[in-house]
Subunit: 546 residues, 2 copies
Amino acid sequence: MNIALAQLNYHIGNFEYNTNKIIEHIKLAKAKGADLIVFAELAICGYPPRDFLEFDEFIDLCEDAANQIAGHCIGIACILGLPVKNKVLAGKDLYNAAYFIEDGVVKSVIKKALLPNYDVFDEYRYFEPAREFECIDFMGVKIAVTICEDLWNINNNPLYVSSPMEELIKQQPKLMINIAASPFSYLHDEERVLVLSDNAKQYALPLLYVNQVGAQTEIIFDGGSLAFDNKGNLIDEMPYFKEAFRIYKFDGNIIEGYEPISHQAVPDVEQIYEGLVLGIKDYFVKSGFSKAVLGLSGGIDSALVCALACRALGPENVMAVLMPSKYSSDHSIQDALDLVNNIGCMHEIIPIGDAADAFDRMLAPAFEGLPFNLAEENIQARCRGVVVMAMSNKFGYILLNTSNKSECAVGYGTLYGDMCGAIGVIGDVYKTQVYQLSQYINKDGIVIPENSIVKPPSAELRPGQKDSDSLPDYDTLDKILFQYIELKQSSSAIIAQGYDEGLVRRIIKMVNNAEFKRYQTPPILRVSPKAFGMGRRMPLVGKYLS
Amino acid sequence: MNIALAQLNYHIGNFEYNTNKIIEHIKLAKAKGADLIVFAELAICGYPPRDFLEFDEFIDLCEDAANQIAGHCIGIACILGLPVKNKVLAGKDLYNAAYFIEDGVVKSVIKKALLPNYDVFDEYRYFEPAREFECIDFMGVKIAVTICEDLWNINNNPLYVSSPMEELIKQQPKLMINIAASPFSYLHDEERVLVLSDNAKQYALPLLYVNQVGAQTEIIFDGGSLAFDNKGNLIDEMPYFKEAFRIYKFDGNIIEGYEPISHQAVPDVEQIYEGLVLGIKDYFVKSGFSKAVLGLSGGIDSALVCALACRALGPENVMAVLMPSKYSSDHSIQDALDLVNNIGCMHEIIPIGDAADAFDRMLAPAFEGLPFNLAEENIQARCRGVVVMAMSNKFGYILLNTSNKSECAVGYGTLYGDMCGAIGVIGDVYKTQVYQLSQYINKDGIVIPENSIVKPPSAELRPGQKDSDSLPDYDTLDKILFQYIELKQSSSAIIAQGYDEGLVRRIIKMVNNAEFKRYQTPPILRVSPKAFGMGRRMPLVGKYLS
């Protein structure tokens, strides 16, 4: 039999768009001689639909779309992810499921058993886990179909107490198919290949795996659908960060015509770059906007975001606003203009002095006798926020936030100032990775001015200010932050690695005390295994290491 | 035996504070002749500890605190909620549990089976559900101890496929004890009494129920611990919104000395008032601040928030900032000053004209030839945001957000302008409820000026602006919003109730399109069954009814 895998970019809740795309690929697969086409987890509604799932009308629309699609499954069968109602009056109202459709009819319903409920995942919020398992029967072959997490229970301390494959294997399937919505992180592709390989090996079955691709606000799906032989060898790998479609010939025992290959390991920096570009592009396409605005300071963070946005949207759709103040260094404007010239985006220069001075005058009676401090620094950052938001409101540009992960972590940013924006482009990219990405972008010629890369980082909110006045060097800071945030190491464990005790405690305290700021930041494109936002949920008034 | 219930206000992650409070109440109970004292769910660390639970160090600190407390349980036993490690190498790493401590030793560990994972709850993110159940044995009596949700599975369509009491009852207990962290909503107290009563009746056992009290950022626990006889009659009800402590004499069959009573139904408006006052107070106490600042417009929303803050913090700790613009009506300043005079809080008058004019001049080249529109309206709101945040930064005042639920819902507010703040005081209070609360506050004499209550609502961002220019009357709007937000009704179901189809579709579209704004709003004190924030999780770029 010929099995097509459709690695597609869906749009949450856009039933017309998703349904048309699915039907188009059914027609394509049929024209190319496929007997079965496989779509990803929750393909009909996109992933994650979140609390839309709590509306009956939304579930009905999923079912309507499935019925429409079923009508096209004549002469070709289809496996299609969607939420389905739990008809038993006990347990949650829904299953995360897939329809196996043949001859225009739903022949069986595959239900997901292992419901991820960590990091960005909330599946047990909506879905009842499956407790009964049955292989599908197609062209005389038994196929064990599972949904994403169902295969992620292979290790010495599994997260779930049972595994669907342990039941399905008893029915002697000849092939495994897994449909997924498995988000990108720059550490996830290797893990995914390993886990799926372990499954193919353990059950001695070939395995076809289809993933979603595309970004849904902060979550980026990277595609990279996979095929394995029954020894666990990777035999095919579909492209990352774009839609793809392939047909495999399965003879009832093996997938024909493929040899073992190695996973194409791509450097982290390149993966992050591709992920961020896709993340920006899909945020705009899916929210119906085309033009972006950002504040361009001459520093490396905003330069990088500008370069990423120009790549994602085209430089003609990016407006860079230069907003110097009396504390801006001489070279800042020039560095920003150099970038604009290198890259060809639109720009405006709007000095903020008049507004900052007006606030100083307005507040003078209330602030009488009190020295310049953080309050005045923040006024400048907030004046810039007002200017870029005014540009956004006047022209319909979407404001890109340029805060990096290191500063988000320690709270080194002004709420309602430089923390404004509709989407945080590099909020999951540590400062040291910001440098790596900038060098990567410059690999074939200078885009980001050398001076933006080499000068000491500064917020330029008071004379001579440097990030290093209040923060350790970013190499050290980022390593400690990675231990605490990504690896969830306790302070004592981090100190035991040889870092200065006082420094570790001070940094963790800064991270915890900045929770109230991060609560109000824009959604952040997720590229690491632990991004700020929906995947990291901390108490605000809690008193722990704070 | 004498059983003490301790209804206490914990602080998340503040182990020293929680442990001292628990030990103090053990001593008190012992002095008063109690044989057993019962504390709430996760009493040791406070509820909800959220992702703190993912740090080993945090769990170790819980265990350390429990050991310290156990040392005080000599001559008195104790039931104490805490997270405990799952020692089996399968399933999640933790249980939501309780220690039964007797003679200074942990005699048994009660584990929660039913893990709420809806609305504000994320328990399956952290905890493995219990699958085995055993009554505790104390002074020769078997007691069925359960944790909160464990008793919430009594109806015709239960959320969980099994119930711990169905197992525990087989062991013939004589008493049920349930320890809880059950959040307040103005509709929840009646439901709680009913569900617990149904349990007492169904299992024909007396039931003692102890809840937490106090606010943890947005979640407010209202206390109201309860006692039932074995026919399901309510026989005692502890106070709401404050700490309380009572001792019950249980003779092995009945709780002695009590007769059936009715649940003390308190009007919604009074419950909301008490909840909000506690919410403000605990936000400040638990984050270590004492003074608040807010923008006072002369309108009813900020007047109400000011009155609530003065009640919670004392008027001497509240700074009201009046920020008139050229579009402010003549009476606005007077209405605001009347409130300040009535209530005795601090105030400053800081007109925003200079800053707004400065922005207009700065943006004139970029905006040349374009008419006044939303961009200029938002500049004014954002100038006010800059001013109140400057006051906050300079004096360490915490900014209270004054947006009501109706405007949060439809996106009628300026991001980084009037949507600024550390905590949203009335973001879960519809405009019609804002009026009710204001009347309630004025019941014994005018606090909120009559004019703020009776004048037509206006944002005053352009000449002659009224809320009714772009919104339906609040009576209609709030009813439609309640159907959509609290009751999750689909548009067709709401229209079927007789509301205008175009209006319903327009309002739902406004709600869905404002999701990106709500993503960046402050945490909102939750008083309804469905507040904006962590309990309502919607996609941002999703395209559904938008």
